[in-house]
């Protein structure tokens, strides 16, 4: 055990003493933050003109929205219902980007549907909601109370806007939460891929420099392999924690400086303080970060040992760095497969294949993260736990097999 830790600590020390590690620790989160800033600025500036057709058969809105409305959203009214197919295909409606369906029950069920041709920016969505909701509030205040519109706003229940893609009108894909889960799962595979390559290179380097012959005179090949995977894994975790820390600090600084409103939860909740959009709900209400983090770690560790074993064997079988490159392609494709499986799961969550992919060690980290962000039921949670156990058992089995291949290959020059 001492030898295993000596190998592990040496690996950690070597990686941490490299400048690249520290650069990556700072640059990685910085790049993510810059991308975030870019996206937020782009969202702010990308106000293309859109035409919204409000199908209002009950003429609830009385052909009015707000006196002072954003000029880049133009509203048109239709006093009847409109079939989706007709809106999608009829020449008369081709110029409209969005169909907002307000049925007669809207004043009771507070729900309206928004169908869009092209994905709407978050800013446009929020503006659209804001303007329509304010108008509905006026109507509700006038019709059902003696309160002023402002007083009514403080006590009312907001409208639920159900945004749907014309190509997916049933909204089967739980988009926002699913993609957030996908991003977290992709983050696991990204780190496993990057640090898996480090395991591969370190193994090849030890083999080509022949230090491995000195090491194997003192430690078992299994100890050497496992120590290397664990050491590099700990460095990956350290970097991951660093990223999370720096991103949190960066996020907080952005909120304090550049995007005071946009990153503030109260902005996302809207003035009425009720459900306004799924992303704000997800980020500030629904996601249990502690719970997610624990599962993230569990799946990260499982995946790291699973892929780490494969990268080690590949390194042990390669006589030189370039020699192994060709064999890396199938392994990297497996990581890509995990991501593709995640996308597949988002669109076809109930399919038999999706259930199978849930338990496949290559794809289970991504799929489990998607399920967790969607808010897993007890049954779903049990299947997540089961998939984690399958991942751990597969990792143990693969490590055992890999150590045998490693032993056979590492001394073949």
């Amino acid at each position: 055990m001492t030898k295993f830790w000596l190998i592990t600590l040496r690996e950690c020390k070597e990686r941490i003493s490299q400048r690249g590690f520290w650069w990556m620790l700072v640059l990685g989160p910085l790049v993510v933050l810059l991308l975030l800033i870019g996206l937020l600025f782009a969202a702010d500036q990308g106000k293309e003109k859109i035409k919204v057709l409000i199908a209002d058969p009950g003429q609830i809105m009385e052909h009015k929205v707000l006196a002072q409305q954003e000029k880049y959203i133009e509203y048109y009214f239709l006093d009847s219902y409109l079939e989706l197919n007709e809106f999608e295909q009829a020449k008369a409606y081709k110029d409209f980007d969005v169909l907002l369906e307000l049925n007669e029950k809207v004043l009771n069920n507070k729900k309206c549907f928004v169908f869009y041709r092209e994905q709407l920016s978050m800013d446009t969505r929020m503006q659209l909601k804001f303007e329509v909701e304010r108008r509905i509030e006026e109507i509700l205040a006038n019709e059902f109370s003696a309160l002023s519109a402002q007083a009514f706003r403080s006590i009312k229940q907001g409208l639920i806007f159900d945004f749907r893609d014309l190509d997916d009108p049933k909204n089967e894909a739980k988009e926002t939460s699913s993609w957030t889960g996908f991003a977290i799962g992709a983050f696991i595979l990204l780190f496993v891929g990057i640090y898996g390559m480090t395991i591969f290179r370190a193994t090849v380097k030890e083999k080509s420099s022949r230090i491995v012959e000195v090491l194997l005179a003192s430690v078992k090949p299994q100890q050497l392999m496992l120590g290397k995977i664990t050491g590099i894994g700990l460095v990956a975790l350290l970097q991951l924690f660093g990223w999370i820390l720096f991103l949190s600090i960066g996020f907080w600084m952005l909120r304090q400086t550049l995007f005071v409103d946009l990153l503030d939860p109260s902005y996302w909740k809207g003035t009425a303080g009720v459900r306004l959009n799924p992303l704000s709900d997800l980020l500030f209400e629904e996601l249990n970060y502690g719970f997610l983090f624990v599962h993230f770690l569990l799946f990260f560790v499982g995946s790291f040992f699973f892929y780490g074993a494969l990268f080690s064997v590949l390194g042990a079988r390669s006589a030189a760095d370039s020699d192994g490159q060709q064999f890396l392609i199938p392994l990297l494709l497996l990581i890509v497969f995990g991501l593709v499986a995640g996308v597949f799961y988002i669109f076809y969550p109930a399919s038999g294949s999706a259930q199978f992919l849930m338990y496949l060690p290559f794809s289970s980290p991504v799929l489990s993260m998607i399920q967790l962000t969607q808010g897993a039921t007890l049954d779903a949670y049990m299947s997540i736990l089961l998939s984690w156990m399958v991942l751990i058992l597969s990792s143990v089995l693969l490590l055992w097999l890999a150590s045998r291949w490693y032993k056979k290959s590492i001394l073949k020059f």
């Binding site: 040496r10 012959e213 000195v214 005179a217 003192s218 020059f413």
Partner: protein, 308 residues
Amino acid sequence: MIQIEGVSKSYQRKLVLDDVSISLAQGQIFGLLGPNGAGKTTLIRMLNQMISPDTGHILYKGKPLIPSQLQTIGYLPEERGLYKNMEVEEHLLFLARLRGLSAPQARANVQHWLSHFDIESWRHKRIATLSKGMAQKVQFLAALVHEPELLILDEPLSGFDPMNVELIMNEIQALKEKGCTILLSTHNMKSVDEICDAAALLHQGRLLAQDSIWNLRSNSSKGEIIVRFEGHMLAFANALWTDFELTEQKQISEGRFECLLRIRGNRTVNDLMKSLQDQVAVERIEKRLPSMQEVFVDFISQKQQQHD
């Protein structure tokens, strides 16, 4: 100390060691000789427990090899490597700890060997900044930093300049005097002549010979005698008569010669001395033993001729 008994090993149906039995005595410097591909590295890896024999077994101090015994074995492989990003002291400490030394013991040993080799100033040098010779020295230290009872050295002199060759040879001798058993695998036959007590000769996985260096050389002797004398060459040649064949002669100064003779029949050196005593003034006479280089070449040539 070590008994290798009937050991065989195959890789992908190719027999690389065939029923090899070798014995090393405690405190001996034992040469493991053989051309490339003879099976030396395979045998050394078996001693280091990196691979296991297909058949046969190896006894270490009378007991089968077990992993804990690796702590008493030091190994300097032929193809050497070090972690280039580590510092000299850090690297030696790491390898000493892997060999089972406690942290304080490892620190004390590293300190001792660094000062013994007068390289304390290298302590914080990164391996990447060392010259090849300096790195070789660090590798040599790494093999003996845990003060092993058995030291396996595979081509320990390669890459060293003559000064350092001398240093390493002296160190090997000193280790022997302290009771360390040394297995020396080398192509440098001069070093075998100089420091080895015994040797084994491997060829194509088979053991061709194993004996003390003296016996190996004597047994390979072709009955040649070196004679140095003062006098007339003609008188010397006449005295030889038909019992000795003059194969080489050279004048070393005015009236002084050194000759190489080959004994014919059952004659001895004493017979030669009797024949010469009234003819020339003998300054030196000795039986010429072949060097280990010649022994090595003879054995391999004979084997190849048999094979052809």
